[in-house]
């Protein structure tokens, strides 16, 4: 059992919502579609479910071409951002509804509903109506409804986006266990890089209807093929710096010099983009090769255990993530340090040419 998209495109009017996407999903694993709003996640899911037909390309299930097959015959289930339940049916009847449509016997329905209800911790809620439940429980009911029919493909379209922080964390922790217990192919769409990383599994990063990279989530995070992928799977946002390498020197705006260490000397003369993560920007010198830069503080966000210091450095906005509480005044000038060992370098086509030493070794 596999789900494969081969060169799938979806054109609406004159614009491509999805262009030339090829993906192969294995069962049992959690597959994440990560991308900002309007990057094509929902469109892609609708194509996988069979709610829409692709303009070009084919969808294969277990090797069989199912491109033209209607959604009712695909054995797919979907969970949405909104909590979609039948408003005047009890939780039990809600979960049982796909089984009733499939004309399954009473005793088996009870058995299967009870099983999935205990998996989602809904045992004590079965007699209630959805409007008597919290948002988290309503979404659990919707997930239970998707799982109960034993679908081969379960699509989750930002299922946690409408939940408050606490419930989201609670359900997110449970999801990998729930996914592991059912053998289906799970596809999970999210806009949040941290959610993708917390859930693990495999991630496909989407940008303007195209898959920019697909692989295990950690790999995509540590070894992004290109700048767009790196930006998509990075929260807080990646810090970048456009530089020019010329005659053995690397310069930003022809006056800030970047010392050529590690793999940087081997790069041919050209335009590059240096990128590094907020936690690789430091408030004090750690190595001799660190570069000291004068930065003006724009704003400091303190979460308690960490501080996000937004700084302006010669016209670019960088975010520095430091542990603990740091208080700086607005417009205060501070010294910050860059570690060239942590640099990702992308060429003029935004493809990765140099990755940090620590990552390359893994």
């Amino acid at each position: 059992m596999q789900l494969e998209l081969r060169n799938v495109s979806k054109k609406v009017g004159k614009s491509f919502h999805i262009s030339n996407v090829s993906l192969l999903f294995e069962p049992g694993a959690l597959n994440i579609l990560l991308g900002p709003t309007l990057s094509g996640k929902t469109t892609l899911m609708r194509l996988m479910a069979g709610l829409d037909q692709p303009t070009a390309g084919t969808v294969h299930f277990s090797g069989k071409d199912v491109t033209g097959v209607k959604v009712q015959k695909r054995n797919a289930a979907m969970v949405y951002q909104q909590f979609i339940n039948y408003p005047n049916l009890t939780v039990f009847e809600n979960i049982a509804s796909p089984l009733r449509i499939a004309k399954i016997g009473k005793t088996e329905i009870k058995e299967r509903v009870d099983k999935v209800a205990s998996l989602l911790k809904l045992e004590n809620m079965l007699g209630r109506n959805p409007n008597e439940l919290s948002g988290g429980q309503q979404q659990r009911t919707a997930i239970a409804r998707a799982l109960v029919k034993g679908a081969d493909l379960v699509l989750l379209d930002e299922p946690l986006a409408n939940l408050d922080y606490k419930l989201r964390e609670e359900l997110r922790e449970e999801l990998p266990r729930i996914f592991a217990e059912t053998g289906a192919i799970f596809v999970y769409a999210t806009t949040e890089p941290s959610e993708a990383l917390l859930l693990g599994g495999r991630t496909a990063t989407l940008h303007e209807g195209q898959v920019t990279q697909f692989g295990s989530t950690i790999d995509v995070f540590t070894k992004p093929n290109n700048l767009i992928t790196a930006r998509t799977l990075s929260d807080p946002p990646l810090n970048t710096l456009p530089v020019v390498k010329l005659n053995g020197r690397m310069l930003y705006k022809s006056h800030v010099e970047i010392p050529l260490i590690g793999k940087l000397p081997q790069l041919p003369d050209d335009n590059y983009t240096i990128a590094f993560r907020p936690h690789n920007l430091y408030l004090n010198r750690r190595k001799n090769t660190d570069i000291r830069v004068k930065a003006k503080v724009a704003i400091t966000e303190i979460t308690g255990s960490e501080s996000y210091i937004h700084t302006d450095v010669a016209g670019v906005r960088w975010v520095l993530l430091a542990s603990g509480v740091h208080k700086f005044g607005i417009n205060e000038t501070i010294d910050i340090f860059l570690d060239p060992d942590t640099f990702y370098v992308f060429d003029r086509n935004e493809s990765l040419v140099v990755m940090p030493e620590t990552v390359a070794g893994v």
Binding site: M78, I84, P87
Partner: protein, 294 residues
């Protein structure tokens, strides 16, 4: 202890409204009450009669007939207009140029003054010059609303359906458009049939607007006056003499102010009671399905 400041200014703000309501509602109502408990033989001489007028009205066959005609009329109107309105709303397009076209053509009957609606149908249904009446007669159907009570009822019911179903349609359509598209998508993935989509998604989501529609249509149909007055004048015989027409006949036609006052108070109490029943049912069911789902 701090003395709580009482702001007396509010009373002055309320006073104009109070005066207005007093002159437009309370004083006329009290006049009616005054007539209901007294008898007069002209020259402003009044005699206290207690509940006599009420007893007379309650025991009069005329009142019973008008009341049952009224109840039957409202029941027929509700059983036709509510399902028809919902069906039309379901059939209406969800997007595209058809939406404004449908909405505007639906709203048109609601914009026509009631007596004009009555006049339109009065002429439309006439056997000699009316398009409907003449055509039916030509087809050999015995239709004459001025002579046949059944024809008169059918005319008034068809007119009311034509005039007011739009209201139910517009309310139901508003209820339907508040259902997010994902509900239909989810039902489609579940493989639910059109009937179960209606039964388990659309109907529960429309419940509250539908109850408002029922309440409005009930009150309006129960108080119908203008259209039957224009079309049939309550005839033939008394067959379309609904409660308000009967009341006006009694008060203005016969100038029996005492019984008419008693009857109008009873009429008012009946509407109040039935509306209260509808409202209670509405808010009870509303509470059950409020804050539900999305």
């Amino acid at each position: 202890m701090i003395e709580k400041q009482v702001n007396q200014k509010a009373w002055f703000m309320v006073l104009p409204v109070f005066l207005l309501v007093a002159f437009s509602a309370i004083i006329p109502l009290m006049t009616v009450v005054n007539y209901a408990f007294q008898d007069t033989f002209g020259s402003n001489q009044f005699y206290w009669v207690g509940l006599d007028w009420f007893k007379e009205i309650i025991h009069s066959e005329r009142f019973h007939d008008a009341f049952f005609r009224q109840v039957a009329f409202s029941a027929i109107i509700l059983t036709i207009e509510i399902p028809l309105g919902v069906a039309i709303a379901l059939a209406m397009p969800k997007k595209g140029w058809g939406v404004p076209v449908c909405l505007i053509s639906m709203a048109l009957p609601l914009l026509i003054p009631w007596n004009v609606v009555g006049t339109i149908w009065q002429i439309f249904a006439r056997v000699d010059i009316g398009l409907l009446g003449h055509t039916l007669t030509q087809l050999g159907i015995n239709y004459n609303y001025t002579q046949d009570p059944v024809a008169a009822w059918i005319t008034i019911i068809v007119m009311d359906v034509w005039h007011w179903t739009s209201l139910v349609v517009l309310l139901s359509y508003a209820g339907l458009s508040s259902i997010p598209d994902v509900y239909y998508q989810a039902a489609k993935i579940d493989g639910a049939s059109k009937i179960s989509i209606f039964r388990y998604i659309q109907l529960p989501k429309m419940q509250r607007v539908l109850l408002i529609a029922v309440l409005l249509r009930f009150m309006d149909s129960f108080m119908i006056y203008t259209e039957p007055f224009v079309i049939t004048g309550g005839g033939p015989g008394n067959s379309t003499t609904f409660m308000s027409i009967d009341l006006v006949k009694m008060a203005i036609g016969q100038f029996d102010l005492g019984p008419a006052a008693a009857m109008s108070l009873l009429y008012f109490l009946v509407i109040l009671l039935l509306s209260w029943v509808f409202y209670t049912v509405m808010s009870n069911i509303g509470e059950e399905s409020s804050n539900g789902g999305v």
